[in-house]
């Protein structure tokens, strides 16, 4: 009753139980959830057979070459994807013209809910460019002669890129020495304007760009050459060339959402904050004008935390911002132990204080490690 399972290209053995199976057809990279076959067992005579499917080793299956996707095939996939996108938009009752990738993801998650833990194993519908690995077109003509002059190096894109970069470097140096000979040294603006807000490509990104495998030494060599180029003064073309290999780095403090101050009936400014540490959860309300009173679950902090270390933790955000006696705090905390509760309240207070404080000070608090949630250490046993 149970059809033999399909192998996924690699050698896999399944242990099947009658009652349900899901098979993966990994042919085109899209998971298809097959209908689970229900055993029509009725009454007390359900046979509980345990099958072990045939293990297919690599010898039986046709030699697994890298599957080459032709250009026509990819084009067809893209057309199918676009049509499928429009159908999906219709199904969801949205406008097909303005259906973005996020909408697609949400629709798929709604229509095919999956409980799998591995996010990459869940059903996806993405543009074929992202699914099929990029492959290169045939590098040689009908007569067998390669198009690119560096084909026989094996890594033609990489070496041609190095060649171009070094050519640019020599040009810039020549230009620079000419200017110096004529005593026309212009303003010394380096090619690389913002070394902090951006970073060099990582090796994977470069490989993706060149559609070629690189070694670590190749990558470091290229980056060194780029750094040499970017340290020289140059014009707009060189800047544009170098910026092609830079990716922007986000400023971390932007991740923190700062709530605006709220005001209660008497006009006092207050702000809420939440914090977690191990299993302790704390919710905190920090009032603008106060005398440094802290109430935890209705009890004063001196009674709630008899240990000095915990009270020092509570004091930390205020002391750091020089606002020790200026705020009143009310908090509710539950779970965890005494140190975890103190840490949770500290985090919640630091987050609440972000609303009272300038952006610079928010960044300082982040660099201090106060507004960052704590990731506990992993202690191995044995």
């Amino acid at each position: 009753m149970v059809a033999p399972c399909l192998s996924c290209g690699a050698a896999v053995s399944y242990r099947l139980f009658l009652g349900g199976r899901v098979s993966f057809a990994g042919r085109q990279g899209l998971w298809k959830a097959a209908a689970a076959e229900l055993h029509p067992g009725a009454g007390s005579q359900i046979l509980r057979l345990r099958h072990t499917a045939v293990v297919t080793t690599k010898k039986n299956v046709a030699a697994s070459r890298r599957e080459t996707y032709t250009v026509d095939f990819i084009k067809k996939q893209i057309e199918e994807f676009n049509i499928g996108k429009r159908h999906l938009a219709n199904m969801m009752g949205e406008d097909p013209e303005t259906f973005t990738q996020e909408d697609i993801d949400r629709a798929i998650a709604y229509l095919f809910p999956s409980g799998l833990f591995e996010k990459r194993a869940r059903p996806i519908m993405k543009h074929p460019e992202e699914i099929f690995p990029k492959q290169r077109a045939i590098q040689w003509g009908e007569d067998g002669r390669p198009f690119h002059f560096l084909f026989y190096t094996g890594k033609q894109s990489y070496y041609s890129l190095m060649h171009d970069t070094y050519g640019k470097l020599l040009d810039v140096e020549k230009h620079h020495s000419q200017l110096r000979a004529k005593d026309l040294l212009a303003e010394k603006t380096k090619i690389l304007k913002d070394p902090i807000g951006s970073r060099w490509l990582i090796k994977e990104e470069l490989e993706e760009m060149l559609v070629e495998k690189l070694s670590d030494q190749d990558y470091t060599q290229f980056i060194r050459l780029l750094e040499r180029l970017s340290a020289l003064p140059g014009g707009a073309t060189e800047e544009e060339f170098v910026n092609r290999f830079r990716r922007s780095v986000p400023i971390q403090s932007k991740h923190q959402l700062i709530e605006p101050l709220q005001y209660d009936e008497q006009g006092k400014a207050f702000s809420r904050g939440e914090g977690k540490r191990k299993t302790a959860k704390a919710e905190v309300v920090v009032y603008g004008q106060g005398s440094g009173r802290i109430d935890i679950n209705g009890v004063d902090y001196l009674l709630y935390f008899p240990v000095t270390q915990d009270r020092e933790q509570l004091m930390f955000p205020f002391h750091f911002l020089d606002r020790l006696g200026k705020h009143d705090v009310t908090c509710m905390v539950s779970g965890g132990g005494r140190s975890a509760q103190a840490g949770a309240i500290r985090l919640a207070m630091a987050r609440a204080l972000c609303s009272f404080v300038t952006e610079d000070e928010v960044e300082w608090m982040r660099q201090d490690g106060e507004t960052v949630p704590c990731v506990p250490e992993d202690t191995q046993v044995g």
Binding site: I196, Q309, E312, M315, Q367, D368, V372, C374, V375, E377
Partner: protein
């Protein structure tokens, strides 16, 4: 210029944990505590003065460092670290080493009692001394503590090296952190073992600290013994290969 990889703190279901590279110390010592932060996470800077410096006072390097820090991921400050003026990293480390079974409350109270005992003893001496001597008596327990531990630090250490089937004690230069660790370890072991059972730890420890401050006492003797052994085994120094 480093290229920080853009990865968040890894959770349980992620791929590799943020593993610190195992430093080869001695065979048989492996790491048991693994940090769950990736290598791109930097330690937090709790010094208030660092942040309050105005733009005019900062050097070029500091300005660059500050800009760079804005894009870096930072770990959370641990529960023992605050920006308080009363916090001392040496005292914290010593308290942690004195701690048994995770009883930080007890260790910290012992530490405060020790410092109090040191201060009391010094004040007694101060009040009993004449005017000239009063100038020489140090009353700040923190300076006494730091100076005592510094006096106990060995300059050179011994390492067992296996050669020809025998273990030889080879003299070896010690890193700063190893020296500090040895000083603290010797102090604590001395106070735990060589005291009468009715004598409490703060009293014994304060006594040892004061003796070490004056370059006397059993811990200093142990340091000198270590130096003498190293001097005696000078011939084996070439067994060291690092």
């Amino acid at each position: 210029m480093a290229a920080p990889a853009v990865k968040a703190a890894r959770g349980w279901s992620g791929s590799a944990l943020g593993v610190r590279i195992a430093v080869f110390r001695f065979p048989g010592l492996t790491q048991v505590r693994w940090s769950r932060y990736g290598p791109e996470y930097k330690d937090p800077q709790t010094d208030k003065e660092y942040y309050r410096k105005s733009l005019a006072e900062q050097t070029e390097e500091e300005k660059y460092e500050r800009e760079l820090k804005k894009t870096q991921l930072i770990k959370a400050a641990p529960a023992t670290k605050t920006s308080s003026v009363f916090e001392d990293p040496v005292i914290s480390k010593f308290t942690n080493m004195m701690m048994k079974g995770g009883n930080k409350v007890l260790a910290r109270s012992l530490m405060t009692q020790t410092l109090e005992a040191v201060k009391r003893k010094q004040f007694e001496k101060y009040h009993a001394a004449s005017a000239e001597e009063q100038a020489t008596i140090e009353r700040n327990p923190y300076t006494i503590f730091h100076q005592a531990l510094k006096n106990c630090e060995p300059v050179i250490g011994l390492v067992p090296i296996l050669k020809g089937g025998h273990f030889y004690q080879v003299p070896v230069p010690l890193a700063d952190r190893r020296r500090r660790f040895l000083a603290m370890k010797w102090m604590i072991t001395e106070c735990r073992e060589k005291k009468h059972r009715r004598v409490l730890m703060p009293e014994k420890l304060s006594q040892e600290l004061l003796e070490a401050f004056h370059n006397q006492g059993p811990v200093i003797k142990r340091k000198h013994d270590m130096h003498k052994m190293a001097e005696a085994n000078r011939a084996l120094a070439h067994y060291r290969w690092w």
